[in-house]
């Protein structure tokens, strides 16, 4: 069971991905038929070619299923294809999303300071001193950049 789970998540992620691409290309082909001639031809050609390639790729995957495809299914090394590694990836994506959320909610500079502090303290339990120093330093850097480059920050939604 566990082996199959790993396989589903890693080696065989390529199949669902190609299927998703295929679905997008079919949708694209469908939608583009409503365009005028000048806007339609290129997407039609691209989508058709893409569907052909996707089907070929799926066929190749079916035929070669089971065979060990050397460096073919992933750009990662062996140790990086465990479910734990995936879960950690998702966790860090969540951290990133939370920064983007904070960025809009409380403004860029407070979000940056809070995020760095939170990330280091909560995720890594880093000591207070380096965490605070990094956080303050980054906010100062961003503030300086904002002044020097006339950057424009989002209007915080909360205040």
């Amino acid at each position: 069971m566990k082996a199959r789970l790993i396989a589903a998540l890693t080696h065989h992620l390529q199949t669902p991905f190609v299927l998703a691409v295929l679905a997008c290309l079919v949708a694209m082909l469908w939608i583009s038929q409503g365009f005028s001639l000048g806007a339609r031809l290129f997407p039609t050609a691209v989508a058709s070619l893409g569907i052909l390639l996707a089907v070929l790729e799926l066929g190749r995957q079916v035929i070669r299923r089971g065979a060990k495809e050397e460096s073919d299914f992933s750009d990662l090394s062996e140790g990086e294809e465990t479910p734990a590694f995936y879960a950690r990836g998702l966790l860090f994506f969540a951290w990133m999303a939370s920064f983007i959320g904070l960025f809009f909610l409380i403004g860029a500079l407070p979000a940056a300071g809070l995020y760095v502090l939170g990330f280091l303290r909560l995720q890594y339990r880093s000591p207070w001193l380096p965490s605070l120093a990094l956080s303050v330093g980054l906010v100062a850097l961003l503030w300086g950049l904002g002044v020097a480059l006339q950057l424009r920050w989002p209007n915080p939604l909360l205040f």
Partner: protein, 361 residues
């Protein structure tokens, strides 16, 4: 009797003076300690952006209260995002201005799909005009502009964004010329290179660009100027382009060929399109509903700016031979819009829609 009258006059004069003093005092207060944000809905570089930056640089110091004007390029969707932000998402208190191009004005005027800018709700602050010249390759086998209708071969004309070339298209339509539109060019500069290469047969450039880059080809005998688009004066009459006063204008050429001035809807369309595009190559807009003292302060600022020799020196190169429009002259921009009948607008929209598929709301 005499005395009372003069007394009344004096009183009136005093009242007026104090009112205007008060007005300036309020105007002076209004921008005190404020910043003005200048939205430029195009990417940096290019004529309209440079004009907007020029104004941002010099206008602030002449507005009472000396606000700092910060120019900001809000790009995206061919100017739609920046325009819509100015139209819908900023406070209408005079602390936000926008620099639009003539073609953006035209898009707003025709109601391009997705554009929320309503020129009726805006007030021009200052503007700069720009003429255009159409030239033709000598490969088409004509010797004089008056033979234009006998031009042979595939009369290709490069299209960037059809609304952005409307004044040149309307002129070609006026002659009822059978030309082949080739869309896909990135900008007028790209069409000029293609024209020089011999890929395109007909090309319209801004007058300064024509004088600078197309004139050498004319001297080599490879191309021939057809006509200047020309300007339309305050009375609705066509006049010559001040930068090329010796060049025949499109309506004049029409008269030379047909023996009469153009007429009908296409002529009305020409008279609407040309001033709207050419008088406002760069237009700084404020919201119509901003406080009176803000508007007064802006007007004071513009007057001070155009009389500032430092500004005049900086502006000379950017205006490229045309006079800046300010004060009462700006009334012409709105007047030419008001003069447009719904039929003319429909005609223009239909033309763009049928020929290029452009959609309007």
């Amino acid at each position: 009797m005499m005395k009372t009258r003069s007394l009344t006059a004096l009183a009136a004069g005093l009242a007026f003076a104090s009112a205007s003093l008060l007005g300036t005092a309020q105007a002076a207060d209004y921008y005190d300690g404020k910043n003005i944000r200048m939205i430029i809905p195009f990417s940096p570089g290019g004529g309209t952006d440079t004009f907007g930056r020029l104004i941002s640089q010099y206008l602030g110091q002449h507005i009472p209260g000396e606000p700092t004007i910060v120019a900001e390029n809000v790009t995206g969707a061919g100017g739609l995002l920046g325009s819509n932000e100015f139209a819908q998402r900023v406070d209408r208190d005079g602390t936000t201005l926008m620099t639009a191009s003539g073609h953006l004005n035209l898009r707003a005027f025709l109601g391009l799909k997705g554009l929320r800018l309503d020129l009726d709700e805006l007030e021009p602050v200052v503007a700069s005009p720009m003429g255009h010249v159409t030239a033709i390759s000598t490969q088409v086998g004509i010797e004089d502009p008056s033979e234009i209708l006998e031009a042979r071969g595939r009369l290709t004309k490069g299209i960037t964004d059809p609304v952005g070339l409307l004044e040149s298209l309307v002129a070609l339509e006026m002659f009822d010329l059978d030309y082949r539109a080739v869309p896909g060019y990135g900008g007028r500069g790209d069409t000029r290179i293609a024209f020089e290469r011999g890929e395109l047969m007909i090309n319209t450039q801004s007058t300064p660009a024509y004088l600078n880059s197309v004139q050498p080809l004319v001297d080599e005998g490879r191309v021939m100027p057809l006509y200047a688009i020309g300007f339309i004066d305050a009375n609705g009459e066509p006049v010559r382009d001040p930068a090329v006063p010796d060049m025949i204008t499109a309506p004049e050429l029409y008269e030379q060929i047909h023996g009469e001035m153009p007429s009908g809807t296409i002529w009305e369309a020409f008279k609407v399109t040309v001033p709207l595009v050419q008088n406002t190559r760069g237009t700084v807009w404020a919201h119509d509903g901003i406080p009176e003292e803000a508007m007064a302060a802006l007007r004071v600022g513009v007057e001070g700016m155009v009389n500032d020799p430092e500004f005049q020196a900086a502006a000379a190169n950017i205006l490229e031979g045309y006079d800046i429009m300010w004060g009462d002259d700006l009334g012409q921009i709105k007047a030419s819009m008001a003069a447009a009948s719904p039929e003319v607008l429909d005609f223009l929209r239909d033309m763009l829609n049928e020929r290029f598929g452009t959609e309007f709301d």
